[in-house]
């Protein structure tokens, strides 16, 4: 459970934090395509995370709403023409800014308990791990839909072939090494039974 102090710290500063994050995303070299999308919509999306920090980081949302929300975000960004590495980078820039903000407090006035900071960092990391994973899944769905691309090993037949190939290689490795055939040269005596 998130501590009230940290929740208040983030939620009470949601507007300023969101503005700083948007600014960073728009200026960062790894997220250039974000300059082509509506800045206000980007702000709103980040503001939603900051202003409802406790809601998003709650464990119950991990599999349900977070999954749905970020899968859809992955699809939406695909349609907006933003590449997946850029989407992932934007999520990490958001996480880093939030983490810097929370952890800075331990250096300034130590008003936050170290245990609370550690626990929050764990929840923050877990939330963004899920966000990145589900954004990727949403993107992959769109790749399949638009370009017909799906990872070959997703196909059971290809998977079975890859496994058979691996088995074959293992068999070769298991075989006892054969000695080279003896070659009799002039002057050698062959002893026959």
């Amino acid at each position: 459970m998130l501590t009230r102090k940290i929740v208040d710290l983030v939620q009470n500063n949601a507007t300023e934090l969101s503005k700083a994050i948007v600014k960073q995303i728009l200026n960062h070299p790894t997220t250039k395509s974000y300059r082509n999308i509506d800045e206000n919509a980007l702000f709103q999306m980040i503001y939603d995370i900051c202003s409802r920090f406790s809601y998003w980081l709650a464990e119950d949302n991990e599999r349900g709403e977070v999954k749905e929300h970020y899968r859809n975000l992955g699809k939406h960004r695909f349609e907006q023409g933003i590449s997946l590495p850029e989407v992932i980078s934007a999520l990490y820039l958001t996480k880093r800014k939030l983490w810097e903000f929370i952890s800075a407090d331990r250096d300034v006035n130590s008003s936050l308990d170290l245990n609370q900071i550690l626990e929050t960092s764990f929840l923050l990391v877990r939330f963004f791990d899920h966000a990145v994973l589900h954004v990727t899944e949403g993107f992959e769905e769109k790749l399949k839909e638009k370009y017909g691309y799906e990872a070959p090993l997703k196909d059971p037949k290809r998977f079975a072939e890859a496994m058979a190939e691996k088995e074959k290689k293992m068999e070769v490795m298991k075989e006892e090494p054969k000695l080279p055939e003896l070659c009799f040269t002039k002057g050698m005596i062959r002893l026959e039974g």
Partner: protein, 147 residues
């Protein structure tokens, strides 16, 4: 204290690499790892665990972190993996390291908690870039005119 935590991971690199290998092989969401050579998979994991300090202290934005993971993304794409499996495997690896630190119970005193916060910061920084560059390598190697 941070050094002590890293040293503990490095000392247990062999058993930890074996453990993570088994987890990847048995997880239905990372099924493609079953098609890799078991020994090579173990060695890949061991290479990171046994030199964790070296990797965490590198500048992850450039140099060998960048080139290793960009190449890994390309290679696994050629092997037929999905990108979400790769992302998941790196997340599992990060959690595996963190869980081991927690299990060993070396974060009770305040000084240890501070080091714990430092470790989680370093781990995240490293794996954020690892995931980013793996994605970049995979994505570029698709070779079609994607968005």
């Amino acid at each position: 204290m941070l050094e002590k935590m890293i040293e503990m991971i490095e000392k247990n690199a062999s058993s930890m690499a074996e453990d993570l290998k088994e987890r990847l092989l048995n997880n239905p969401d990372t099924k493609s790892f079953q098609t890799l050579d078991d020994k090579a998979l173990y060695e890949d994991i061991h290479a990171l665990y046994s030199r964790l300090g070296y990797w965490l202290m590198r500048d992850p934005e450039k140099g060998d972190v960048r080139s290793y993971y960009t190449e890994l993304g390309k290679r696994r794409r050629m092997d037929g993996f999905s990108l979400s499996e790769l992302v998941r495997s790196l997340i599992l690896m990060k959690r595996h390291i963190w869980d081991t630190v927690l299990q060993k119970g070396i974060m009770d005193a305040p000084v240890e908690l501070n080091s714990g916060i430092d470790l989680i910061t370093y781990l995240n920084r490293f794996f954020d870039f690892a995931i980013y560059y793996t994605t970049l390598g995979y994505y570029k190697s698709l070779g079609v005119n994607l968005t």
